[in-house]
């Protein structure tokens, strides 16, 4: 049993959900904007971790992107949800809500062991 392994497993599933949530809120998002939003939420992710995830989600047709010219450097990829991605997000969202409720309930029970 390795704590870092468990932590990264936990983070992995939630990461996809958060990426989709951020893109959905912004409509279109650029990878370093996604990273910024995650940092604000104190979900620290390295950019080098984000790119493979985005590519995987794009290959799964959950995301697509378009090139947008940038004044500060090379053109940027702006990602948005496909219709499949919208559906995918909704499903992840309800799973997350269920899990969060379950964890909250369990933690409450631990605090009051006699309260069934």
């Amino acid at each position: 049993m390795n704590i870092e392994n468990t932590q990264s497993q936990m983070k992995k599933g939630i990461l996809e959900y958060c990426i989709l949530a951020i893109i959905k809120q912004s409509g279109e998002a650029y990878p370093s904007d996604i990273i910024e939003k995650m940092k604000e939420a104190r979900l620290i992710v390295l950019e080098g971790t984000l790119y493979p995830l985005l590519t995987r989600l794009k290959n799964a047709e959950v995301l697509n992107y378009k090139w947008v010219e940038s004044s500060s450097g090379p053109p940027r990829k702006y990602y948005s949800l496909t219709s499949k991605g919208e559906q995918f997000y909704e499903e992840l969202h309800s799973t997350w809500t269920e899990l969060a409720d379950a964890v909250t309930t369990i933690n409450q029970n631990t605090k009051n062991p006699l309260n069934f």
Binding site: T49, S72, G73, K77
Partner: protein
């Protein structure tokens, strides 16, 4: 003293100090290895190069004439050095590789009753796994033997008693994924099975003897 060279990265021409270039080249090479086996690897590396070019360009736009080692270190910290990326995500690959080695470690195929696919006792589906045939074949044979000679049921019941059920993961593995058997191996397996069968019969007769002798007293 540092030599300044010019590189193109993601279509941008960037002046960079020699040692900074070496560090960058080394980093990109490590990333190349790190993402090996990742679908869309080329695209990921291209995205990363684009991002590096963008960060360098921003540095130059802010008045720096040349990218130095410190700039490269900052960029690497932003994207994540390979060790950090590995602890962020890489453990899974290592683990998967280890598990694979375990699965492919050859094991002797053994006859078990398969409780997950059973009709009665799982004897026939176990035989199906053992001989790599559809379990319908031994089932039909048993049925015919029962209807034709009446002995099918008895043989089946004996097999039910004598053939152990696969209950541990190890046993299920030996039943389903053990080395497929050729005739030579079949002979050896049958010998081994008979040996074990003999042991089990001996144990059973001892148990029965114990049982009856205890009953007498």
């Amino acid at each position: 003293m540092q030599r300044i060279i010019q590189i193109t990265i993601a279509g941008r021409i960037i002046p960079i100090e020699d040692n900074a270039y070496e560090r960058l080249k080394n980093y990109l090479a490590k990333l190349d290895t790190f993402y090996n086996g990742e679908p869309g690897k080329e695209e990921i590396l291209q995205d990363i190069e684009n991002r590096i070019a963008e960060l360098f360009q921003a540095r130059i736009n802010s008045g720096d004439n040349v990218i130095d080692l410190e700039d490269v270190e900052k960029v690497i910290a932003t994207l994540g050095d390979v060790d950090d990326l590995a602890s962020d995500q890489g453990r899974r690959y290592q683990q998967a590789a280890q598990q694979e080695v375990m699965i492919y470690k050859p094991i002797r195929r053994r006859l078990f009753r398969d409780r997950d696919n059973k009709m009665l006792g799982g004897v026939c589906s176990g035989m199906g796994s053992y001989f790599d045939i559809d379990p319908i074949i031994p089932r039909l044979v048993f049925l015919l033997a029962f209807l034709g000679f009446g002995s099918g049921l008895l043989i089946y019941l004996i097999a039910w008693v004598l053939v152990p059920e696969a209950s541990t993961p190890e046993e299920i593995r030996a039943m389903k994924y053990g080395d497929p058997i050729d005739t030579d191996q079949l002979r050896r397996n049958v010998e081994a099975e008979l040996g074990e069968l003999q042991k089990r019969t001996e144990k059973m007769s001892r148990d029965l003897k114990d049982y009856f002798s205890r009953k007498k007293h």
